[in-house]
C-alpha cells in the first residue's frame, strides 16, 4: 500500500517531485490570491459595524487559520520521520518551520493592525492572541533547535521530536489560555451548520484561504528543495545540477 511513498525517501526523487509540483501550487496561489484580494478589498460589501477596516479580515483570517494548519502539517511530517525514519520527512520539518513562523508573524501583525481601530489598542493579552504568540515561539524553537546542530541528520530528528511534543501540548496551551482570558470575537466561518458571515463576504475569504494555503505549499516546496540541496551538496546528482545551471 505504501509502495508509492517509498521512492520519496530518496532525496533525489523528492527534489524532482517538488520541482514538478511547484508551478501548480504557485499558479493556483497567484490566481486565487489575486481574485480573493481584489474581490475582498474592492467589491465585497463593507461591514455594517466595523466599516472598511474589517476588510483586513481577508488577509488576517487566512493567515491565522493556516498558521495552525501549517504546524499540523509540520507535525505530520515529523511523525512520518519518527515512525518510518524517513530522512526527507525530517527535512520537510526543517523546511516548513520558517514558513510557518512567517505566517504566524503575519497573523499577529495584521491582527494588531485590525485591533488598533477596533479595540483601540495594538495588543491585548487575549486568549487567541496569546496562543498565536506562543505558537510563534514554538515554530522558532523547532527552527532554532534544527540549526543548533552541526550534524543536520541529528538536528532533523531532534526538531521532529520537538514538533511532536509541541503538537501534543498545543491543545493544552490553547485551552488553558482560553480559560485564562478571552476578548477576541468568536470564529465566524468554522461553524459548519450556518456560517455567521454574509455569503458575499465568505467567498473572497474562502478563495484567499485557498490561495494562501497554496502559497504556503509553494514556499514549503521551495524551502524543502533548498534544504535538500544544502544537505546533499556532495552527491553526484546535485553536482550535475550545479554544472547544468
Amino acid at each position: 500500500m505504501w509502495k508509492w511513498l517509498h521512492p520519496y525517501a530518496k532525496t533525489e526523487q523528492t527534489y524532482f517531485l517538488c520541482q514538478r509540483l511547484f508551478p501548480w501550487f504557485a499558479f493556483l496561489a497567484v490566481i486565487a490570491l489575486l481574485t480573493g484580494c481584489v474581490w475582498g478589498l474592492a467589491y465585497a460589501p463593507a461591514d455594517y459595524q466595523q466599516g472598511d477596516s474589517a476588510r483586513i479580515m481577508y488577509v488576517h483570517v487566512p493567515t491565522a487559520i493556516l498558521s495552525m494548519s501549517t504546524y499540523a502539517a509540520m507535525a505530520i511530517a515529523a511523525l512520518i520521520g519518527l515512525v518510518w525514519q524517513i530522512r526527507t520527512a525530517d527535512m520537510a520539518v526543517a523546511a516548513i518551520a520558517p514558513v510557518g513562523a512567517v505566517v504566524t508573524l503575519l497573523a499577529l501583525l495584521t491582527g494588531a493592525a485590525w485591533g488598533k481601530p477596533m479595540w483601540g489598542t495594538w495588543w491585548v493579552w487575549d486568549a487567541r492572541l496569546t496562543s498565536e504568540l506562543i505558537l510563534l515561539f514554538m515554530y522558532l524553537g523547532v527552527w532554532a533547535l534544527y540549526h543548533a546542530f552541526d550534524d543536520k541528520q541529528t538536528g532533523g530528528k531532534a526538531a521532529g521530536l520537538m514538533a511532536i511534543v509541541g503538537v501534543v501540548n498545543l491543545p493544552i496551551i490553547h485551552y488553558s489560555v482560553e480559560w485564562w482570558n478571552t476578548l477576541h470575537q468568536g470564529a465566524s466561518i468554522t461553524k459548519f451548520a450556518k456560517p455567521s458571515i454574509a455569503p458575499e463576504m465568505l467567498w473572497p475569504l474562502l478563495i484567499n484561504l485557498f490561495g494562501l494555503a497554496m502559497a504556503i505549499g509553494a514556499l514549503a516546496l521551495l524551502s524543502l528543495q533548498n534544504e535538500i540541496l544544502r544537505r546533499e551538496i556532495k552527491r553526484p546528482w546535485v553536482q550535475k545540477l550545479g554544472e547544468q545551471a
Binding site: 506562543i134 515561539f137 543548533a148 531532534a158 521530536l161 501534543v168 496551551i173 489560555v177
Partner: protein
C-alpha cells in the same frame, strides 16, 4: 527497576557531594524574588496581587537553570553512554534522573517558599494553595524539561535554546497554578485547578520518560 534504584542512589550521592552547585538555583530563586519588591514598589497590596505569579515565574526560571545539570555532566564524562549501553531500560534510568533532579534542585525551592510568602505578604490561604500547586506542578517542569535537555545535551551552549524550547510548553502550568492561588485569595475553591495540575503531572509522567529516552538516543546517535 533495579536500574532505577541504583541510578537514583548514584545521582543523589553525586548531588550531595557537589552541594555548592545545588544551592545556586536556590539562591537565584530567592534573589529574583527579592528584586521584585524593589522593582514594582513595596506596597503590601501590590505584592499580594503579583506575589503568586512572581513566585511561579521565579520557580520556572530557577528550575530551568538547574535543569542543565540533568544529563550534561554525565554526557560530558561519558557516563551517559555507558548507562545507555548497560542494557537497563533507558526510560527507567531517565525517570530516576528526573526524580533525583526534582528532589535535589526543586524541593529546596518548595522548602524555602514559606519565607518568600512572607516577603510577598501572601495570606495563609494563598500560601497553602501555592504550596499545593508547587508540589503538583514542579515535577511537571522536571519531566517536560528532561525532553528538552535530552534534545540539547549535545549542543554547545544550549542554555538559551533550552528556555526557548521549554518555556512555551510550560505556559499552561503557570496559568493554572497562579489561577489556583488567585482563587484561594478570594476564598474560592481551587480543587479544579489542582485536579488539572494532577492530570498534567500524570500525563507527563507517562509520556516524558519515553520521549526523553528517545531524545537522548537522537542526541547520542
Amino acid at each position: 527497576m533495579q536500574g532505577f534504584i541504583t541510578q537514583m542512589r548514584r545521582d543523589m550521592l553525586l548531588a550531595f557531594r557537589a552541594r555548592a552547585e545545588v544551592f545556586q538555583p536556590l539562591l537565584f530563586f530567592v534573589l529574583v524574588i527579592s528584586l521584585f519588591p524593589l522593582g514594582v514598589g513595596p506596597g503590601p497590596q501590590t505584592l499580594q496581587k503579583v506575589g503568586p505569579g512572581i513566585i511561579w515565574v521565579a520557580a520556572l526560571l530557577s528550575a530551568l537553570l538547574g535543569l542543565d545539570r540533568l544529563f550534561r555532566d554525565d554526557f560530558n564524562d561519558g557516563a551517559l553512554e555507558q548507562q545507555m549501553l548497560s542494557g537497563a531500560s533507558l526510560p527507567w534510568l531517565v525517570l530516576a534522573k528526573i526524580c533525583s533532579h526534582w528532589l535535589v534542585s526543586i524541593v529546596p525551592l518548595i522548602l524555602i517558599s514559606p519565607l518568600l510568602a512572607l516577603f510577598l505578604n501572601l495570606t495563609a490561604d494563598m500560601y497553602w494553595a501555592l504550596l499545593l500547586t508547587l508540589l503538583l506542578g514542579t515535577p511537571v517542569i522536571s519531566l517536560v524539561g528532561a525532553i528538552g535537555v535530552g534534545l540539547t545535551v549535545s549542543v554547545q551552549k544550549g542554555g538559551v535554546l533550552l528556555s526557548l524550547l521549554l518555556l512555551p510548553l510550560l505556559v499552561p502550568l503557570l496559568i493554572i497554578a497562579t489561577s489556583a492561588v488567585d482563587a484561594a485569595a478570594i476564598q474560592l475553591a481551587y480543587n479544579g485547578q489542582l485536579f488539572l495540575l494532577a492530570a498534567m503531572l500524570l500525563f507527563s509522567l507517562a509520556l516524558s520518560p519515553l520521549a526523553s529516552a528517545y531524545a537522548l538516543r537522537v542526541s547520542l546517535n
